[in-house]
Each structure stands twice: as C-alpha cells, then as structure tokens.
Symmetry: C2
Subunit: 237 residues, 2 copies
C-alpha cells in the first residue's frame, strides 16, 4: 500500500469527487485496505485559466509547488492534482518536486490510445485549450482532436464557471449543443477535460461516448497506490 | 477565512462525504471563497469499535494523535474527526493536541437542545453506544435517549460493517425495522450517530425525522471557518 498526495482545492468540489472516485475504485472490504491520502485543499490558489490567458498576472505555480512540498514532506509516494488546467504548467510543478506527479492529460491520452480511439472531441477551459497540452499529447499518439467552435466553447466556459464553480446545476441544454457539434465533427469519444465537467458525469445523465479525465486520474492513482476493482479496468461510458 | 484540519479515513468514504458537505454548505461563488482544508486520510488506523469493546487491544489513539499533530504542524485553526466512534476517546485525543477539535457529539446535542427536542433515538456502533458519550451529553441537556433493542442493534452494525464499509448498498429493509422500533419507543428525531450511516442519507431516501450527526459537524466546521449558506441553518430532515 502506497500513500497518495493530493494538491487540491482547484476547485474544491473536484477534489472531493476525485477522492470519492479513488475510494470507490479501490478494491477494499474494510477501511484498512483503502489507500492513505494526504490532501491539501487550497482554493485560494490563483485561477489557472486567468493566468494562462494573460488576464491575470498571478502565477499559481509558486503556491501549487509550496503545497506540493508540504505534502511531500509527509512522505507520500505519488501526487495527483485534480485540476486539468494546472497541467498546462506541469513541467514547472514537477521540476520543483521530487515525488512523481501523475499527469492527468498523459494518462488520458494513453488510455485512449490503448482503446484504439482515432478522433476525440475535447471539452475543457479556455486555458487548457489554449495551452494545447491535450492536443499535443493526443496527436503524438496518432489521435485527432476536434474542438468546439468559438460559440460552443463559450458555452463550455459558462457551464464551468457560471454553473459548476458557482454551485449551481449545469445548463444541460448548452451541454447537449456542444456534444452535437463535436459528434458532427467526427468525435468517437468526447473527453471531459476539466475536473468541473466531471461533476456533470456525477450529477447528470450525460449518456454514452464520454471519457471523464478525472476518472482516468483516479484509476491511475489506484493502480499505482492500491488495488483496482475489476469493473474499473474500462472507463468509457 | 480559517483553515480546517481533518483527521480522516475512519472510514475513508465518510471523510470524502464530510468534505463534500463542508464544500456544499459554504456560501461561495468562486473557488477562492471556499475553506482551505488539510486532510490526512489514514484508513489504517485501528478499528475504534473493536478497541472500545475490548475485542482488540490495538488502541487507535496514538495514531489519531500522530495524524493530528502532522495536521497541526501545517497551521490549521480547527480540527474535525469525521468518525463518531473515535469521540469516545475524545479527551485522550484533545489533550495531546493544541488545536481545538470540534466535538461531533456535543455539537449534535447542542443542536437538538436548541431545536427543543425531548426524546431522540440513536443509531450508532456498538462502540459508541457502549461508551455512552451520546447518552451523557444528551441527558445533561435534558434530552431522553432511546436505543435499539439487541436484535435491532445487530441490524445497525450489519448495515455499518457488512454494507457501507464493504462498499455495498445498505439493507433498507433492516434500516426501516430499526426506525419503526425507535419511533414506537417515542423518538421524535433519530440521530444518524455513525458517519457510515450518513452515507445512507446521501444515497437513499430515508425520509423525515433524521438528524445526521456528520451534517452537524460539517455545519459547525463551516460556521467556525467560513460562511454558512442560509439554507443550512436548519438540518432536521
């Protein structure tokens, strides 16, 4: 049994849901078979998208690294960051920490490659899309990425910031419009590429054809630190 | 804004749900308005009920205190332990820590006193019932406690250990039998006095007349560390 560190609070509910997924995916019949976790949930870390788009000059990396070092000092084996946008800054974070940080985007790209997916749709923040990490990792594996149009991307951002982060229910009508567009563009699978969008796969009936990147991260954490329940070998809805 | 420490993993899903409740109950429109948390989830801490009943000699207190000290060293303002059974050992834990630990049983008793409740039913582990902390705190406030019969108490333990801790759905037929007995005995409200039972109020339709002690703890944590949403002023279902 290994210990999992979590740099959390980005956002806070995504961190809770990530921990829930890790707990649910662990093959355990008693408390004692579960994975120990050290979690620092610091919602005050500056907004990642605002920094990546240049609308804020507050770099979140120093606080993420400081948080990671505190977790590292307690003696964890792996660190997870349940915030996809932060992975645009992954190299700056990993190079300041000694503990291996699980990379949610690479894990997702690896998973899709193993599943033989050729074209994926991507729903993510402007920050993530702009940084291009998903596109780079997927294209390196021969997977083509289709993105929402400008108008549909605004709908994705609305759902993330005005709905989920505000503690409100997601606008499922707009969500459906984004889905339709990505399917028409040829997506075989749509990546929920923002941990706030994972809340939709928890709370709403979103139907088939989605891959929740946060589930991929939770699965990777369990595979590295504990024992995975057989039914979570495959994640595609 | 204050920082909340959480001694967790007792059990692991209860910790996740506690963090979810704290997040949901916080009046916040952005990530940055949420309460920072430092959580050590250590499911390997020995079983509390087994120790309290003398079926195990492994005292969980040293590990709980060690975990609490690590959390304390990061500079938290309050500590919560989302495990009711552990509160039978509260004094041993609090005297080894400098940070105030929120007392889930006292908070629950205070809440019921303010609500003017006169007779409560209690569903909890054998360890908690045997330790008598709920009974003492409630009776001090003039509230009479009714307990399940031996047969019904076995049903409560079955639900906690063989269902919830085993990751299975709760046996709602047995749950209903316990409810009926406690109501016949005069309970105006039934306390869900084990954090594993709180999972039922999350996942099942349990109806009116329950007070989930974990919700009381989450509410107390938010009142102490952040800003409570108005709708969580009252918790009785």
């Amino acid at each position: 049994m290994k210990t999992l560190g979590v740099i959390g609070g980005l956002g806070p509910m995504a961190t809770v849901y990530f921990m829930q997924l890790v707990t649910e995916m662990t093959d355990a019949k008693t408390d004692q078979e579960h994975i120990p976790m050290v979690v620092h949930s610091l919602p005050q870390i500056p907004d990642r998208t605002a920094y990546l788009l240049g609308t804020s000059t507050e770099n979140p990396v120093p606080q993420i690294v400081e948080c990671g070092k505190k977790i590292e000092n307690t003696g964890v084996d792996y660190i997870a960051i349940p915030c996809i946008t932060a992975h645009a800054l992954f190299d700056d974070i990993q190079e300041s920490l000694e503990t291996p940080v699980l990379h949610i985007i690479r894990e997702t790209a690896d998973y899709l490659e193993r599943e033989g997916v050729r074209v994926v749709g991507l729903e993510a923040t402007d920050g993530t899309i702009n940084a291009g990490v998903f596109q780079k990792e997927l294209e390196q594996r021969g997977i083509r990425v289709v993105l929402p149009s400008e108008e549909k991307q605004k709908m994705v951002m609305h759902i993330i910031y005005n709905n989920v982060k505000a503690g409100l229910r997601a606008d499922m009508e707009r969500f459906q419009l984004v889905e339709t567009e990505l399917l028409v563009k040829g997506a075989e699978v749509i990546i929920l590429g923002c941990t706030e969008l994972s809340m939709l796969s928890r709370d709403e009936k979103i139907g088939h054809g989605y891959l929740d990147a946060m589930e991929v991260l939770a699965r990777a954490a369990v595979l590295n630190c504990g024992k995975l329940k057989a039914k979570y070998q495959r994640l595609l809805t």
